[in-house]
């Protein structure tokens, strides 16, 4: 399988603090990859760097979006703005849920369709036929995503009134709506009960299988990580300390040492 994201020597300094230290990570098409590590290892910083929220100090972030014909173009995306990264096809969720609380569930997803549609001010005011059609397609597409995620019954509810687990799912739905080739999930199972976590496991697998979307997730729930991932990267103090299949990671002494004091419930 071809590589769709390639991160070479990514380094991020905050003043004197080196949060990421020459990180190399690659993700292939159709993979579910997990990024684990103790708290403060720099996992979320890594997300922020590759999605354009932070500008990395050095290193390359290269994407090669899979195209229909297999003709893919390698492209360096350092320094792009977050919205441009999303447009290129990488969408993310947030560790501390960041929905649009006063918008409805459907509208939250419709925001995800923004970068794939074009209607401007004039279109909004005059509503010519093309725009009406586009608007209808936004609504339909968004609703379809909600159905897929299993949130269709909340369609017109305000996002802030949703139960916690559903809010996490809505973040995924919103990311899906941007038609990504890679989704970055930041602790999607945090705060979920075992039942919900199990459903999440199934959902993520389904997204990969049905849509052919690759997934990179940060997660602390080792059971979920081990059952989902094809490969795992382990970080500590901004460095990659190990990578491999779940089986390899489980038995890696370096990883166990890094987690010393932290329990691996696997």
């Amino acid at each position: 399988m071809e590589t769709i994201l390639e991160v070479n020597g990514l380094t991020m300094d905050f003043g004197g603090l080196r949060a990421l230290d020459h990180l190399n990570i690659d993700i292939r098409r159709g993979e579910i990859v997990a990024l684990i590590g103790p708290n403060g290892a720099g996992k979320t910083t890594f997300f922020n760097c590759i999605t354009g929220i932070y500008l990395p100090t050095q290193g390359d972030i290269i994407i090669s979006p899979p195209k229909a014909e297999g003709t893919h173009k390698r492209e360096r995306i350092n320094g792009l703005k977050p919205n441009q990264v999303t447009e290129k096809g990488m969408a993310r969720t947030f560790q501390n849920i960041r929905l649009f609380p006063n918008m409805t569930v459907l509208e939250n997803v419709m925001i995800g369709r923004h970068c794939r549609t074009r209607a401007g001010v004039a279109g909004a005011i005059f509503r010519n036929r093309a725009m009406v059609r586009e608007e209808q397609s936004i609504v339909d597409d968004s609703f379809r995503v909600l159905e897929k995620i299993g949130l269709a019954r909340y369609v017109n509810d305000q996002a802030r009134n949703l139960p916690y687990g559903a809010q996490r799912l809505l973040e995924i739905a919103r990311a899906l709506a941007t038609e990504p080739f890679l989704i970055l999930l930041d602790e999607p199972a945090a705060g979920m009960n075992p039942q919900e976590t199990h459903e999440l496991d199934e959902l993520i697998t389904r997204i990969r299988d049905d849509e052919g979307i690759s997934i990179l997730l940060i997660e602390h729930d080792m059971k979920l990580v081990m059952s989902l991932s094809n490969r795992i990267f382990v970080m500590d103090y901004g460095k990659k300390i190990a990578q491999g299949t779940p089986e390899e990671i489980r038995n890696n002494p370096v990883v166990i040492k890094a987690y010393l004091g932290e329990e691996i419930d696997a």
Binding site: F14, I53, Y54, F94
Partner: protein, 300 residues
């Protein structure tokens, strides 16, 4: 050269005046990230209280020194009380609201207090007694720097030093710094955050009151609107220096004061305020966190 020096000292005086008000803005902003729009009005109320108390005491026939001391104390006490009350009414219920809400509430408070004084007192300019007596101190250069200007410069410097010491070494100062860094963490380690916020308002308001008394005696008259203009300028100064930073507020104020003074002296006072605001816009474009402000990474 002498002209340059005159403008320089004039700018310094102006800057010190702004600094006294800017400190209150910056302290409040550092703690609760709110532009306390009503701060200028607290300064105005301080000046009014001093005027009223001084006039009553004059009628009662006290001596000048006693009047100066009592009026200043009254101004500080009342400004602090107003600052405290404003926080309790207009900001505290909004601690967890979206950012715009307390800001709008603050603007409302500012308009309210202006009109409160307008209606309860008068719209006219009132002559402010020269509480700080004119004295001669460096003849024959007194045309360069007047005695009230000297008093302003000295007072501002002393207050700045005291404030820095207060924040560095006292218990409340440490609690303030802790709250400014991370409110919920400070709460966890046992800081009474509400009390710290109240204290910040009280201290900031006291500084404004000192500013009010000094400026009013320097200018010689006050009305209900003085807080608005001085407040905007002081806030501009605070932002220039990096809002939230105490040395930043002082630096920003001095720069603003000097800019205005030199712009008036060498260009034209027609566009004095335009220079001030243009400077603000430029600084914010090229250094959004202000001169001494630390650019905080967005927490995601």
């Amino acid at each position: 050269m002498e002209y340059f020096f005159e403008l320089f000292l004039g700018g310094l005086t102006r800057g010190s005046i702004y600094a006294l008000i800017a400190l209150g803005y910056t302290m409040v902003y550092g703690i609760i990230e709110l532009i306390n729009f009503a701060h200028g009005e607290i300064y105005m109320i301080g000046a009014f209280t001093a005027l009223i108390v001084a006039s009553v005491l004059t009628v009662m026939g006290l001596n000048e020194f006693a009047i100066l001391v009592l009026a200043s104390i009254a101004a500080a006490v009342y400004s602090a009380a107003y600052g405290y009350t404003v926080e309790k009414i207009a900001y505290k219920p909004l601690r967890h609201a979206p950012r715009l809400s307390p800001l709008i509430s603050a603007i409302g408070m500012s308009i309210f207090l202006q009109n409160y004084v307008l209606l309860a007192q008068t719209s006219d300019f009132l002559p402010f007694p020269s509480l700080i007596p004119d004295f001669e101190f460096w003849e024959p250069y007194s045309h360069l720097l007047r005695s009230t200007q000297l008093v302003i410069l000295v007072t501002t410097t002393v207050i700045m030093v005291l404030l820095t010491l207060l924040i560095k070494y006292t218990k409340i100062g440490k609690a303030m710094r802790a709250t400014a860094q991370d409110r919920s963490m400070a709460m966890l380690v046992g800081v009474n955050v509400n009390q710290v916020i109240s204290m910040t308002f009280v201290i900031g308001s006291c500084l404004a009151a000192v500013g009010g008394v000094l400026i009013a005696s320097h200018i010689g008259q006050i009305n209900f609107f003085i807080g608005f203009i001085a407040g905007i300028k002081a806030f501009t100064a605070a932002v220039l220096g990096g809002v939230g930073s105490i040395p930043g507020a002082v630096l920003g104020s001095l720069i603003l004061g000097l800019t205005e003074s030199f712009a008036t002296g060498y260009v034209s006072s027609d566009y004095e305020d335009v220079f001030a605001f243009a400077l603000l816009v430029l600084i914010l474009i090229f250094r959004p966190a202000g001169l001494l402000g630390r650019s905080t990474m967005q927490k995601v």
